[in-house]
Symmetry: D2
Subunit: 364 residues, 4 copies
């Protein structure tokens, strides 16, 4: 059951990196949304490998086919199934991994859990699994945009210790897409690209932080207890490969402030809208959106699969060394940006439908 | 639907801080577990207010009644309902808040979502809601302990900028309970208590970080994609009031390392068990437990409700000021420790049952 | 997880017939619904034992307490917990059943599944469990009534072979409540009461059929595939104790017609509304309500617990006989009427919210 | 969310009768099950149209492709996606139905709900949707067979008023497959075939009853309250197209018996196993399997789409007539047999995993 996400706007992904293909089934999509394969492909292209010198050199077109749920350019309200065929696979690159566990990868834990594993790649732990999420996220984004003008913009906030300065209130997709590292602080971006490229040549890898903002989120999305908006966002992004941490609003840094310093004081703006002067809450109070920009950050560890030699063991427990031969990203961050955006969109869209379901019924 | 947590071991909490009471229904508990009200009360007493000078002076006995699901000291396999009556409530303390929104609290967002709010306290956003979680967590802990010797220990890792040094591999509940701030680094604890007490007198509040370790977690718990163990843990603890951030293993700090530095190399121990030499993964790889201690951290913001005067607005949008009169914690961290442990136990217990359900069926 | 029903309007029941009490938690209730304990008690009184000479002589006031979720007479949108204390229990009546399995009852299967059982009554298999459903159903009915004027009326259609003639298009609650057997065909009702009373004196029991109609159900409720409206209705009523069969519209009798005879031809009424001339579909086509009255029937077997002596075995497998001493209904049908209505209301209310969640979002 | 079925063994189907294809994603399948495409194709072939003169003449090979979740002939424990391409579609056969509602079909209700409809066939209401169920059912059957020797056999029990005599305790798949109507009472079968063939020529259609037995179901499967085994079975089969009624064990006929006549008395067999002398319970007591054969019946109405002319309206409300031109089954029963078996297998397999998840954890 762990391959389904969301309650009303609900997606189920399937597929391994090697095999017939990967994809997603989206259940609960509102009917009559205009959507084209191109809109979905746009997001998939942001996610796909081989985009630039700082991503994996694997070339995958990742062309999507909409199998169902769309008719004459509009959603039917029935399940939208999207399939991306696996191509350009090189199982031979992985033959060594049939026996040898990659450190900090999922090989050993899959074997421990299932007693079987598709060793011709990462299986479900491959970043390829996120294709389905990104495809579904494209649709979620469009719904949110259409219903409430919601804008979701992710970007690389930090690579290793190179931190960018970016204003979440004004950053745009256009700015993000201006460079291959997806960091709209262009000076920082240049240094990031340089360090990633150098690390790639050293057969090593890097981590960092993605920040994501969602603006114009309707007040009231989210629920009070377990399904607090920040809890579902946390689950969403922490289910992405290589994520190690999550922050909303002030996050860990906010814990060194006092309550007096941290609280967001209320005021009424010219439109009579209740607003907060600061946004340490990150757009969510008591689990529910307050209308301010939702701002979150996700920590991604350095890619586990590296070309450098490491100590490890085989599945039968013998000590050995491994220097991975596959074509891997030296840094997942640039490609993680659309993945984070997708998860944010999926969470918000699900909560939009849930809120309408519960709270609009008795409204006059 | 946002008041239910878990799939096979599933809890539903109910109740506001003011009204008949708060409680929990636990569905899916394995039958024939020996459990006493005292074992549940033990955890509730760790959570309850009025424990010490650094928690809220509200005195609540929080005595639990098991309404169903336990017979002659053993679980029946049917729903366990636990009720804690509300007592010692002082709605008059909150009368001002019927109109005036507390900054960084849930008053305004509840009104935006539901158009109605029990203003005689925090309603569902009150920390009182966590009683049900902690009661259910006591049962989850016992199952985990009995099935696999799992030990879950939480503690205060940091208050403001006072950071403790604690070894997650050896820390025990006994050590944690040795002082009122629940920090087993006794020197740090002293300074923490002092700063909390001073802040309380200043009618201000503090935040910090709780760390929690789960040892002896069976290899294989967790699922590959959306229900990765770290994703469900993140959701669990980020659904606690006042939480702002989550980390597993190396967390945000791990993002400044290279892959070579970050990866946990494998080796075989004397028992032939596959282990990792380091534990930057925090006990989880690819979403699945690898048998090493699961280590996570949760950031809690400073308590929103403070006695100091703040700028705010009324529900009708008029500018006003508020100096809260209720009896509030100057720092939620000491009481958050059993809450974090409970959420960790609930996630692990649910995944234990799920793993057995899927993966044990065809085992010889 | 088997104690929760519904997705958006979701209830969880708890409690055994003996123990602290029984109750329900309702999650997802729309906010600002006016509801009084009296409205809930009205339905509970229709369900409770001891109403008349043809129900069990057990006297249970079944007074409900709303623990949470309602404030100043209105729903808060947060969980509504309702508790009914167990009183007038007589565990001694059941002492024999600690060892001896009642034929066609749940004693043996509970033991097989859980290895433990609360033998002081039926435990979760007791009809007492339905208190929570009926209480929640009262709220669901009110929402449906308020939003769309939905009327749900159940009645006894048949006892043994005494069949009533009732027009589902016009029958009312008032008519149903006119006699103790809840059959608005008064001539049939008299004969039903007589046969039930005679059977009671013979320490035997009877079964029959409850019919239920839901009028003014909005077109469009229900979903195409697994959650077809008739599928969810079937599950709802087949989860009631003692139910053995379900029919929608023409049911089993419809299978002897040809398609030409069975199909409901369409026409447009004076209001321009698309209607069907006949209603063999029972108000549902393709899993989705078509606006015609939803008509369904439920078969209830004769009560399993009877005073007549029967062959059975003990839990250790020894042959013995049993003549039950408890106070049991000679026929569950009259009390089953509000239970069936409750399940119908819960299904429709859940689908109302689900439909609004998915299908209203993009409406202009 | 209505396209997902099951909790631990969970399937999601997708696809319309016209479009890229139909299929299923199976989540939660136990790992290491040996499964071949041929085993799945075997069941699909029993379901597919064009098998004989009494089914629709549409020729669809319905060849399945396993996209994921199976590696070197064994299940991985990760989602199994199965795709069947749509071929041999004739949208032109349906062009009239773009505007004209077929009586007792889903055209009008889909339009009412979604405001849009794929009129080139039945969309999701097409029997083609059941391909995914049958494919998943093949896997569920194999698990049940392997774990406990469960045998699931469905057959046609009645067509119109021609009723067959079949012993559910001994009937086998081989006998069922001996004739094209899938009725192992060969004399009845002959008359059934004749009447179906005649009705086909008359451009009319017939209904009937499918009976299904599941033998060797482990005691203890099922849950006490909402997820009673009979409730989930009822939902499963009532979600099949054209179903109008459901019975378990004695069903509606059992309601004319007294309790003394209806109860299944217990005895101990030679193996010391607690058994019942009769099986009016249909293998389930209190919602939980008692080890006796589970016997259920499903009523299927006559096919709605017929060649005979009928009165109807267009989507804009004008009165018209319709004589359907598509290639439709004169009687769905023979093809419904594998569908019913599949739903029974899916329910039992899900409950098998759920039971192991909850009840095996604390077993010594």
């Amino acid at each position: 059951m762990g391959n389904t996400f969301g309650h009303l706007f609900r997606i189920t992904t399937f597929g391994e990196s090697h095999g017939g293909g990967v994809g997603v089934v989206i259940d609960g999509c509102p009917p009559q949304l205009e959507i084209t394969p191109e809109e979905i492909q746009f997001e998939l292209d942001r996610r796909r490998p081989g985009q630039s010198k700082i991503t994996t050199p694997r070339k995958e077109a990742d062309a999507c086919e909409i199998l169902s749920g769309v008719f004459e350019g509009k959603t039917l309200g029935t399940p939208i199934a999207i399939l991306v065929r696996n191509k350009n696979t090189r199982p031979q690159d992985y033959s060594e991994m049939a026996q040898t566990y990659r450190p900090s990868h999922a090989d050993a834990t899959y074997d421990a859990k299932y007693g079987i594993r598709n060793w011709q790649g990462g299986g479900r732990s491959s970043a390829r699994e996120t294709i389905g999420r990104v495809a579904a996220g494209a649709i979620a984004k469009k719904i949110l945009q259409q219903v409430a003008g919601v804008e979701i913009v992710g970007y690389v906030k930090r690579i290793k210790d190179i931190e960018a300065t970016i204003d979440p209130n004004t950053v745009t997709l256009d700015l993000v897409e201006k460079n291959i590292v997806r960091c709209p602080d262009f000076a920082a971006a240049e240094r990031m690209i340089e360090i990633i490229d150098r690390t790639r040549r050293e057969k090593n890898s890097l981590g960092g932080v993605v920040e994501c903002v969602a603006r114009n989120v309707p007040k009231g999305l989210g629920e009070p207890v377990f399904d607090k908006l920040e809890a579902d966002l946390a689950k969403g992004v922490m289910s992405l490969p290589a994520s190690k941490g999550f922050e909303i609003g002030s996050g860990f840094a906010g814990t060194v402030l006092t309550g007096r310093e941290h609280n967001d004081e209320f005021y009424c703006d010219e439109q009579g809208e209740i607003r907060t002067r600061t946004n340490r809450s990150g757009g969510i109070q008591g689990g529910i959106a307050n209308g301010e920009p939702i701002v979150l950050r996700v920590a991604f560890k350095p890619t586990a699969t590296i070309g450098k030699e490491q100590q490890t063991v085989t599945s039968s427990g013998e000590q050995t060394t491994l220097a991975a031969k596959g074509r891997h990203d030296p840094c997942v961050l640039p490609r993680a940006v659309p993945m984070v955006e997708a998860m944010v969109a999926l969470v918000l869209c699900d909560h939009l439908l849930r809120d309408r379901g519960q709270c609009s019924v008795l409204k006059p």
